[in-house]
C-alpha cells in the first residue's frame, strides 16, 4: 500500500506540473486511524498529502459532475467499484470521458471501521495495518491479528470487480479476490424465501428507521438527475414527512429509478446512518434483470445498452402477455 501511495503522489505531482490536468481528486489521511477522505488538489506541492490505504472507501467519480464544468481536465484515482460508477455516469451522459484522466488502482478491499470497533471497541485502536494474511489492529498496549474477512466491508466481501474496468494508467498489480459472483445474491434469496407478508413486514421494519437524510441518493452514481424529484418542492412530493407511506414511496421510487443502472457499488448501504440494507433491494432488481433478460452488469462498460431501456424481439418478456398481478 505504501508503494501505491508513492505512485499516487508522483503521478499526481507530475501531471499537475506538466499541466496534463488542472485538478486531481484523491484521498488524504485524517486525524483518526479510520479516516481517509476525499481531497481535491490543484497545486503540485499539495500532492504529497495524497494517500492510499485500507480506508480510501470514498468513490470520487460522482464529484466529476460538479467539478468538470469548472476545469478542462481532471485526474482521478479509481478503484474497481469506482470505475463501474464512472462508466455509469458516462453512459448517462453526465460527464465526458475526454475531460478525465483515470488512474486505476486494483483494490484488495476496504476496512469497515464499525467492524474493527466491534472487535476492539473501547480499546482505543490507533492503527490498522495490512499483514500477510489479513490485518493487524494495534493500540497503545497491544496488537491483534485478524483475517481480512472479519473487518472488510460487506460490499468488499462480495466484490466482483476489484480491478478497475476502465482506466488510462494502472497503478499496481491486478488482484484476484476469488469471489463467487452468485454469493452477492444470498441476502436477496433469504428475503425471497419469505412469505409476502413477512417480506412486507421486513421492509416496513427497515424503512421505519429511515431518517430521510437522502445520503443514499446523494452518494449514488446512478442518482445523477439535475433536479431530483424529491427536491422539487413544486412537485409536492419533496416528502420531508416521516410517515410510513412517504418512506416507502421514497424507497420504491429510488430503487426503480436506478433499476438497470445500479452498478452494485454498495455505497448506499454503506453510508446509510440507519443501517438499512439497501443493497438487498437493489440486488433483487439486478437478480430479476439477470433472470429475465440475461446477465447484465451495469457499469462494466459504458456502451452496452441497459436492458430496461432497450427492447429486442427475442426478449424473454415480449410485453405481449399481461404480467404481474
Amino acid at each position: 500500500m505504501e508503494n501505491i501511495t508513492k505512485k499516487i503522489r508522483a503521478v499526481a505531482k507530475q501531471a499537475l506540473i506538466n499541466k496534463e490536468i488542472d485538478k486531481i481528486l484523491g484521498w488524504k489521511k485524517g486525524d483518526l486511524w479510520s479516516e481517509s477522505y476525499p481531497v481535491f488538489i490543484t497545486k503540485p506541492e499539495d500532492a504529497d498529502s495524497l494517500i492510499w490505504d485500507s480506508f480510501c472507501i470514498n468513490n470520487l467519480s460522482k464529484y466529476l459532475i460538479k467539478e468538470l464544468p469548472k476545469y478542462d481536465k481532471i485526474g482521478i484515482f479509481i478503484k474497481g467499484c469506482d470505475s463501474t460508477s464512472f462508466n455509469q455516469l458516462l453512459k448517462d451522459n453526465r460527464i465526458n470521458r475526454e475531460n478525465v484522466v483515470l488512474y486505476g488502482i486494483p483494490c484488495e478491499g476496504m476496512v469497515d471501521p464499525e467492524k474493527v470497533k466491534k472487535i476492539m471497541l473501547n480499546d482505543r485502536v490507533t492503527r490498522v495495518k495490512k499483514s500477510e494474511n489479513g490485518f493487524t489492529l494495534t493500540n497503545k498496549n497491544t496488537s491483534k491479528d485478524v483475517l481480512g474477512e472479519e473487518i472488510k466491508y460487506d460490499k468488499c466481501l462480495t466484490c466482483t470487480s476489484p480491478n478497475p474496468v476502465v482506466y488510462d494508467q494502472l497503478l499496481g498489480d491486478v488482484v484476484n479476490n476469488n469471489v463467487n459472483r452468485e454469493d452477492r445474491f444470498k441476502g436477496v434469496e433469504e428475503i425471497e424465501s419469505m412469505t409476502p407478508d413477512e417480506r412486507y413486514n421486513f421492509w416496513k421494519g427497515e424503512f421505519q428507521r429511515c431518517l430521510r437524510c437522502n445520503a443514499c441518493r446523494d452518494i449514488c452514481p446512478a442518482c445523477s438527475c439535475v433536479k431530483c424529484v424529491f427536491d422539487n418542492s413544486d412537485a409536492e412530493i419533496s416528502g420531508k414527512a416521516k410517515t410510513e407511506g412517504e418512506d416507502t414511496f421514497f424507497h420504491i421510487v429510488r430503487a426503480y429509478h436506478v433499476a438497470g443502472r445500479c452498478v452494485d457499488c454498495g455505497e448506499c448501504a454503506r453510508i446509510c446512518p440507519a443501517g438499512i440494507p439497501l443493497d438487498k433491494l437493489n440486488r433483487k432488481i439486478i437478480k430479476d434483470i439477470n433472470e429475465v433478460y440475461g446477465e447484465f452488469n451495469a457499469g462494466l462498460d459504458s456502451t452496452t445498452p441497459a436492458p430496461l431501456v432497450t427492447f429486442k424481439l427475442e426478449d424473454a418478456d415480449t410485453f405481449s402477455k399481461q404480467g404481474g398481478k
Partner: protein, 348 residues
C-alpha cells in the same frame, strides 16, 4: 446515593414499563438507538453513542398539529394534541443531556413551543456516565461533564461493573425513585469511593481522546469576518454531498419546516425536521437566499459556532457528541471546521 445490581435490571425495566413508556438504547439491525423497550430487546449500555440522538423524543421528526376539512364550502379546523405518554429515558449520555438544554433555549423561550413543552414535561431523564468514550467524542471542549452528574438529568447513573449507582437530582427523579425503591439498596461508603475512582478514570480517558484538545477560543474574528472566509467554506462544501446526515443525527440541530398534506377537501398541517443541507432550506415566497451548497454548509457551522452563541450568552450549539464526525459519508465534521477556522494549516 442508591445502588442496583445489574441482575435486577430486567425487573426494573418491567416495573418502569408498567407505569411509563420506557426508552433504552436498543440494538437492532446494526444500529443502536433509543427505542421503546419490550421484553427481549437487546439493550446495549456499553456503547456510549447511539446512532441518532434522542432528540426525536422531544422534537419528533414529523408532527401534525392541525387538521382541516372543507365540507359543503364550510371550513373546519381541528387542533391536534401532542401525542405520547409519560416516559422514562434511561442511558442518556451527558452530551445528549446537555443538548436538551440547548433545545430548551430555542423552544421554551417566548413564545413557548407548546408541543415541545409537552414532550419535555412528560419525560424523566436518567443519564449514564461515559465509562468508555469513543475516539470521536470531544464533549470536554464544550464543557460537558462526562464523568460527573450532568445538570438537567432527573437521575444520574454510573456503571460500576456489576451494578449501577443512582443519584436523584429532581422532584421527578425522586418520585420515580420512590416507585422502584424495592430494587435498590443504599450505597455504602465503599461504593462512593469506587465511584470517585471511576470518575477519575473517565476523566483520564477523556484526556487521551484524539480530539480532546479542540480549542474553540482559537476561532478569531467578527461574525462577518468568519462568514467571509469563502475559501474555507468552498473547500469544505466542494466535497459535501449535501445529504442531511449530519443535521438529522445531530442532537442540537433544530430547524424545521412547515408543510401541508393537501387532499381534495381535507388535509393536515405538520412540521418536520429540516436541514440546512437541503436545497429548499430557507426557500420563501420571494425565492431562496441560499442558492449554493457553500452557503448552506456555511449556515450549518455559522449557526453552531457563531449565531447561536451570539444569541445565547456564548454557549455553542454543539455538545461534542461526535456523531457528525462518525457518520458524515465524506468526513466533513465540526472538528475539522473548528480547527480550520482556528487557523490550523493542515486541515483539508
Amino acid at each position: 446515593m442508591k445502588k442496583i445490581l445489574k441482575t435486577k435490571l430486567p425487573e426494573l425495566w418491567q416495573k418502569i414499563d408498567a407505569d411509563f413508556d420506557l426508552f433504552l438504547p436498543i440494538e437492532k439491525n446494526k444500529t443502536l438507538n433509543f427505542s421503546l423497550w419490550k421484553e427481549g430487546e437487546k439493550v446495549n449500555l456499553d456503547r456510549v453513542r447511539t446512532n441518532a440522538s434522542p432528540k426525536h423524543l422531544v422534537f419528533p421528526q414529523t408532527e401534525t398539529y392541525l387538521k382541516f376539512k372543507n365540507e359543503n364550502k364550510k371550513l373546519s379546523l381541528e387542533v391536534v394534541e401532542a401525542e405520547g405518554d409519560e416516559y422514562v429515558l434511561f442511558g442518556v449520555r451527558p452530551c445528549d443531556v446537555k443538548s436538551f438544554k440547548l433545545l430548551d433555549n430555542i423552544f421554551l423561550r417566548d413564545p413557548v413551543d407548546t408541543y415541545y413543552k409537552v414532550h419535555r414535561d412528560r419525560g424523566i431523564i436518567i443519564s449514564l456516565g461515559c465509562s468508555n468514550p469513543e475516539d470521536t467524542c470531544f464533549c470536554t471542549s464544550f464543557g460537558v461533564e462526562a464523568a460527573s452528574a450532568p445538570e438537567g438529568a432527573d437521575i444520574a447513573a454510573w456503571d460500576m461493573g456489576d451494578s449501577f449507582l443512582w443519584k436523584t437530582q429532581s422532584e421527578k427523579g425522586q418520585k420515580l425513585m420512590e416507585s422502584v425503591e424495592e430494587f435498590f439498596t443504599d450505597a455504602h461508603e465503599k461504593d462512593l469511593k469506587t465511584l470517585e475512582h471511576e470518575k477519575d478514570n473517565i476523566r483520564e480517558k477523556l484526556k487521551e481522546l484524539p480530539f480532546s484538545n479542540i480549542d474553540l477560543s482559537k476561532i478569531k474574528g467578527t461574525q462577518q469576518e468568519i462568514f467571509d472566509q469563502e475559501e474555507i467554506w468552498n473547500e469544505f462544501s466542494e466535497k459535501c454531498l449535501a445529504c442531511g446526515t449530519c443535521s438529522y443525527l445531530c442532537p442540537t440541530c433544530h430547524c424545521y419546516d412547515l408543510c401541508d398534506y393537501k387532499g381534495s377537501n381535507k388535509g393536515e398541517k405538520f412540521r418536520c425536521w429540516d436541514s440546512c443541507m437541503s436545497s429548499d432550506f430557507t426557500l420563501m415566497a420571494h425565492g431562496n437566499p441560499r442558492t449554493s451548497q457553500m452557503q448552506r454548509l456555511r449556515q450549518r457551522f455559522m449557526h453552531k459556532l457563531v449565531y447561536y452563541p451570539k444569541n445565547h450568552e456564548g454557549v455553542y450549539s454543539c455538545v461534542g457528541c461526535g456523531r457528525c464526525a462518525d457518520r458524515c459519508p465524506v468526513h466533513i465534521d465540526i472538528v475539522k471546521i473548528i480547527k480550520k477556522l482556528g487557523g490550523e494549516k493542515n486541515e483539508l
